[in-house]
């Protein structure tokens, strides 16, 4: 049994942002004042080009955390050891404060859906995932940090609640938690559950990081879009969680319609007020009562595709060609 204990010494990182392609030039030019960056592991694990070179520069200036989307810890496929070795190699290079991924599966039979698909929360799944976490932790030589995913369905087979399932994984494996406040709100709404019940069962002492993000309310369901400011209801939930996990690192994810770096930073820094007890002005929030008819893409991933079109240029080889051009 590996229940976390008070002597655990996880670094207090403060307020961070997800490192995104569209902000790289700004970051390399201004080295803005942000406490830390979270990087998507898969964007860099297999990179031998500019992304990895940029990451090395960023790692020299900021604390980093590696956040993965393809470990597929709950898949019925065998673990992908080539993937894990690449993850370990990247970690050895950039020395992240920790490595996280999601309580989900992403594909079977060698295929990847690039979605974070929910698991049936059963005793069998618990043992399966716990065993795989132990293997992953042995390969990575560190505890895995596991995030609650946003979900749009629940299975008839499930016999555990998600927070109880996570708590049991913590006890059995010593893993830690990345609690995504927005995902909790989204999943609870979509499952017809009360987020307060979720929080009651959550092992707050195991939380090392919190995620914040915007979502889209479609009336009958909520989509985890990461494409707008954080909703007032999520800030309220964040305030509650923060009181119970005051050492947790806080990170804003903004992955669709990504605004400029300073706008992302300003949204992140709203958290400071709420951490100090500022009331969430629920009725003044822009999202209150807003219901969108057109569904946006959940958990967008296109921000991971490098925007290289502006980079590739037609070049002249000779002076004559330059003159012709």
């Amino acid at each position: 049994m590996h229940a976390p204990h008070p002597g655990d010494n996880w670094p207090r990182l403060g307020l961070g942002l997800g490192l995104r392609h569209v902000h790289v030039e700004h970051i390399l030019k201004h080295w803005p004042a942000v406490d830390w960056f979270e990087v998507i592991s898969e964007n860099f694990m297999f990179s031998a080009g500019r992304p990895r070179q940029v990451l090395r520069q960023v790692a020299e200036r900021y604390p980093l955390v590696m956040h993965g989307v393809s470990m597929s810890i709950g898949s019925s496929d065998p673990l992908d050891f080539r993937y894990l070795q690449a993850l370990k190699a990247l970690a050895d290079e950039i020395q992240p404060k920790w490595i996280s991924d999601h309580l989900c599966w992403t594909g079977i039979q060698g295929k990847h859906t690039h979605d974070l698909l929910p698991l049936p929360l059963t005793d069998e799944t618990l043992q399966h995932v716990a065993e795989r976490i132990r293997i992953v932790q042995a390969v990575l030589e560190r505890p895995l940090v596991l995030e609650n995913p946003s979900s749009y369905l629940s299975y008839t087979q499930s016999s555990w609640t998600e927070p109880a399932f996570l708590a049991e994984l913590v006890v059995q494996t010593g893993c830690r938690l990345l609690f995504d406040v927005n995902n909790c709100y989204v999943s609870c709404y979509n499952a017809g559950q009360d987020p307060q019940d979720y929080l009651k069962a959550l092992p707050h002492e195991a939380i090392v990081q919190l995620h914040l993000a915007g979502h889209q309310h479609c009336g009958s369901h909520i989509i985890d879009t990461h494409d707008r400011p954080v909703a007032a209801a999520v800030w309220q939930l964040f305030q509650q969680v923060w009181r119970r996990s005051p050492a947790a690192a806080i990170l804003l994810e903004w992955d669709g319609n990504i605004p400029d770096f300073d706008t992302c930073l300003a949204e992140l820094h709203k958290a400071k007020g709420f951490m100090q007890g500022q009331q969430v002005n629920h009725w003044a929030a822009a999202d209150v009562g807003r219901v969108d008819a057109a569904e946006a893409v959940s958990t967008p991933v296109d921000f991971m595709v490098a925007p290289l079109m502006a980079e590739a240029r037609q070049m002249a080889m000779t002076e004559q060609e330059r003159q012709d051009a």
């Binding site: 898969e42 964007n43 694990m45 031998a48 080009g49 500019r50 070179q53 393809s70 898949s75 019925s76 496929d77 065998p78 673990l79 050891f81 993937y83 599966w105 992403t106 079977i108 060698g110 295929k111 859906t113 690039h114 979605d115 049936p120 059963t122 069998e124 399966h128 795989r132 293997i135 749009y152 369905l153 629940s154 299975y155 008839t156 087979q157 979509n190 009958s220 369901h221 989509i223 569904e295 893409v297 959940s298 958990t299 967008p300 991933v301 296109d302 991971m304 595709v305 490098a306 925007p307 290289l308 079109m309 502006a310 980079e311 590739a312 240029r313 037609q314 070049m315 080889m317 000779t318």
Partner: protein
């Protein structure tokens, strides 16, 4: 641990994941309604099929956004609807098998070629040739962006132009196309709306130097010489000799001029002699 026995999945989990993955990847066939109700719980707001449909809609929409990012010029040329149709057919035929999205479009150009809409026509249609060429061009650029390069090793310099160990650098691709896809791509990148180009054989070197991508036009003889140099681990002198057989002895006087341009553009490194 490594043979997978330690994490053999429970049968019920494997069956459920088979159901879910099929529901996402093979939406045309659609999962059996009874299976949906067996596996997925209803809520007060949505029935089981509606819950599942959120994932089904998002699967193609999410990956389509990525394909549009990897093939921006092609998406511009085809228009959003036609591009979506081709991309979704490709994704249905070739679901991603990589943990990284960077490989998503790897087979798109081949898929377009093998599934040409004019496959049964008497004459091939030019716009399809253009589409296939543009897809290959964009994917080649995209691959070079993150491929192993020579940035740390360094590039050969003008002072080394007679060095016997001159070789093509690893992040360089030689391509010939039936249309001026490089010029078309550049116009789209610059925010223009170029017209469908006329057919024109072009020879290109796509190169990444100092983490920047360059598109260089080549003459046919330059393309032939560089291709020969790329083929085997031979020397420039051997490539020149072989190419002279095809192109004539004049190449010996032209090659030093070309070589200086290639060295300045970072085409070459010092390999093993």
């Amino acid at each position: 641990m490594r043979d997978g026995r330690a994490d053999v999945a429970p049968l019920a989990l494997a069956q459920l994941q088979q159901f879910m993955q099929s529901a996402l990847l093979q939406q045309a066939e659609g999962p059996d309604h009874g299976l949906i109700e067996r596996y997925i719980a209803a809520t007060g707001l949505l029935d089981p099929a509606q819950h599942l449909a959120i994932y089904q809609r998002a699967y193609f929409a999410r990956l389509l956004q990525c394909m549009q990012g990897q093939f921006k010029a092609l998406a511009h040329a085809l228009g959003s609807e036609l591009f979506r149709d081709f991309a979704c057919e490709y994704l249905r035929a070739h679901p991603s098998c990589s943990p990284t999205l960077a490989h998503l479009g790897a087979g798109f150009a081949d898929y377009l070629q093998q599934n040409r809409p004019d496959a049964h026509a008497a004459q091939p249609e030019a716009w399809i040739d253009f589409m296939v060429d543009l897809a290959d061009f964009e994917w080649t650029l995209y691959s070079l962006f993150d491929a192993p390069g020579a940035e740390e090793q360094g590039y050969a310099t003008l002072a080394q132009q007679d060095h016997p160990a001159l070789r093509l650098q690893p992040c360089l691709a030689l391509r010939q196309y039936r249309f001026p896809v490089g010029a078309y791509y550049q116009q789209v990148a610059d925010g223009h709306d170029p017209v469908f180009p006329l057919a024109q054989q072009v020879y290109l070197a796509l190169v990444r130097t100092h983490y920047r991508l360059g598109i260089f036009s080549l003459q046919p003889a330059q393309y032939a010489l560089l291709s020969r140099l790329a083929q085997a681990d031979g020397t420039l002198a051997q490539a020149l000799a072989a190419t002279a057989d095809q192109l004539g002895e004049a190449i010996h006087s032209l090659a030093p001029i070309w070589l200086r341009g290639w060295l300045q553009a970072g085409f070459l490194v010092l390999g093993h002699d």
